[in-house]
């Protein structure tokens, strides 16, 4: 009996109780799930927006503002040194061409009403395979000695040329020189020369700027041109739809 009594017997009342427990468990689970869900939602809503992803190391620019594709504004005259694939912009309002060909551009500053100011700029560019910057610089010094007497390197630290560069490519050569203009009567006015030579690996270029003007800040006027110098390796600005 006891064994028989120990056998579980399906009793309607007990079965109902089990169902109730299941229902309670189900409701509890549902409520718990709801509470957890709401909690997760609340946390998600309250949580500050996650930080933007850091810039990947391979993309140091980390996004650029979009720009449109209108053509670049050209306000000067473009000289193309076809021998080496370089180009430079100058402003005919104040610069007059003395001579030009596929390798050379010689300009003279000509500011209306300021005949006392003289400044000569001479650019030469050749394929890098044909001449190194140092060779171009040596040739230029020899050429200049034909018109400037006693041309020697100027070692006065006040006249030093710091950080030489052409078209934002660091110069291999950069130096100041001084001499005197050659006149029929012999040495004339003191003349100063700044000389730089550089290469981008595809072209080599040399630039000399000469003046007899006493204020050396005059040389700064040539910076406007040299900063427009574009080497064959320098890509044109990219355009992207805004």
């Amino acid at each position: 009996m006891s064994a028989a009594a120990s056998v579980p017997v399906a009793v309607p009342g007990r079965r109902g109780a089990k169902n109730t427990r299941r229902k309670v468990l189900f409701v509890f689970g549902a409520v718990l799930g709801l509470v957890l869900g709401l909690s997760v939602l609340a946390i998600a809503l309250a949580k500050p927006e996650a930080d933007a992803p850091p810039c990947p190391p391979e993309d140091p620019v980390c996004g650029r503002p979009p720009v449109d594709d209108a053509p670049p504004l050209v306000s000067g005259v473009l000289w193309k040194g076809s021998a080496a694939g370089v180009q430079m912009e100058y402003y005919p309002r104040i610069w007059k061409v003395v001579d030009q060909d596929a390798e050379n551009l010689k300009l003279k500053l000509d500011i209306p009403g300021r005949s006392d100011i003289d400044l000569f700029l001479w650019v030469r560019a050749v394929p890098a395979s044909s001449k190194a910057p140092s060779a171009l610089a040596q040739e230029r010094v020899s050429d200049l000695r034909g018109s400037i007497l006693g041309l020697e390197e100027d070692t006065d630290p006040k006249h030093a040329l710091l950080g030489p560069s052409i078209g934002y490519v660091d110069g291999d050569v950069g130096a100041a020189y001084s001499g005197a203009t050659d006149t029929p009567q012999g040495p004339g006015s003191p003349a100063s020369v700044l000389l730089m030579a550089a290469t981008d690996g595809q072209a080599s270029a040399v630039v000399s700027v000469a003046s007899t003007f006493s204020d050396r800040h005059i040389f700064g006027l040539a910076d406007s041109l040299l900063n427009t110098f574009r080497w064959p390796s320098q890509p044109a600005p990219q355009a992207a739809p805004r």
Partner: protein
Amino acid sequence: MTSRRRRGLLALAVAGLVVSAGSAALRSGGEAAQPPAAQLDRALGATHPAAIVEASLVLRREERALRSYLAAVADPASPRFRRYLGAAALGERFGPSAAQLQGVRRAVEAAGLRVSAEYPQRTALGIRGTAADVGRFLHTSFVERVDPAGHRYRVPAHPARVPAALARTVLAVSGLSTKPLPVPADVPGGGLGPKDSRAAYNVKPLHDLGIDGKGQTIAILSFDTFEQSDVAAFDKAFGIPADSPAVEKVPVKGGVPVPGSGETEVDLDIDVIRGIAPRAQILNYEAPNAISNFADLFDKIVADGRTDIVSVSWGICDSGFDAHPDRLRIERSIEAAVARGISIFVASGDAGAYDCQRFMPEDHRLTVNFPSSTPNVIAVGGTLLSVRSNGSYLEEAGWEDVLGNGGGGGGLSPANPRPAWQKDVPGIANKFSNGRRQVPDVAASADPDSGWFIVVDGKQSSSGGTSAAAPFWAASMLLIGQYAEREGAGKLGFVGPALYELARTKRPFPPFHDVTRGGNRYYNAGPGWDYSTGLGTPDVWNLARDFVAYLKQRR
């Protein structure tokens, strides 16, 4: 390369002499401390005993507590992040007590002097009296000198000393030299009218939304003054609305009665701001040209509490000045500004990586410009800007004019450590890094070939230099602040940390044009941060939208 550029007349030769070097914290630099260049000046004899002399007593403060506070307001992880203090609260919390201040006042008056300036942030106490009385009080005497340009000035004959009884409240004495030193960072050039700069840097969308500076205030720190007629002429020439607020002069230390050699600089600052934020109220805080007046100008701006944006286009070569009491005084005034939530945009100088060369052509040391080299400002470098035929942005190069010795200032501070927020952006840790402050933080058009149109003495001209770039950034940030307020994002506060954070992560609206060409005669521009252009130049509309998101995220 093709670009928009119109070359103006010759670059100005700016000659000057380096600042006197100090010796110890409790001293004021005396005549004996002058570097060799200053010895070129000529002594005129002792100052007349009855001549009026002014000085500043630099007050001690709760140094560690203030340092900790300044770090916390710049740290996004801190509960005190961006919780700035008012000037009075700052003074009460970190400055000497009211009783200590009263003690100093009594001692000053007992010496026959009077207190001439006092600020609620308690950075310093100005004193004034005869040369005899001030000399007795500070244990020194004074001599008159004249520099090669004919400027007469006064310096202490030997280092001043703080009276022993005040040593617990007063840290140092500054402002005893009246030698004119800060020089403007501008150069003549040609190019950008207001419409050009708004188009190139994408300011226009903000203007289209009515964000034009209305109801906003911006301060210019000046060592000269301007003519209202020049502002009116600029407004007329460039279509600035007729109902824009008149520029207000705020004199400090007596102000500047008539325009002098720095007038062009003041006009440049005003006109650049006017072009970007035409309806903003501009306050020109102006003081006589003396190094110590930097601090009084900053103190007055902080004490007045009228603006959160300041533009500075003046500076000196940062060399031999590390421990000078005037530097200490200036840096404390700037720190008070940061604690108050003010952003100070400072021109980084116009001699490239060789800032002291502007003062002495034979000085080839790598040097930077002060106060752009201090860690609590936003240093603004320079570029050459090129635009497209429709006026929109084409490209930029770091400003370097190697033949004319020009370029945007940049390099390493000789004295200040790198601020905690100047980190974690590509390029910031580089082969030159040495733990010191690296400048600049950002840049904008400064090469004279892409200079800014201005009106001086009734005539239109143009001018470049980083002193155009600094007010451009200040005015742009003012617009961004106005936009942020309108969007319910709150105030900008000191924006240095935010600029780096925005550059650190990819943004839906890329805020910076990264300048990768050019340099500054020594350091080349390159991908990421560099010593020529910092983080780069702004797309102002993008930066505005990013700033709003940034501020909302951190409220």
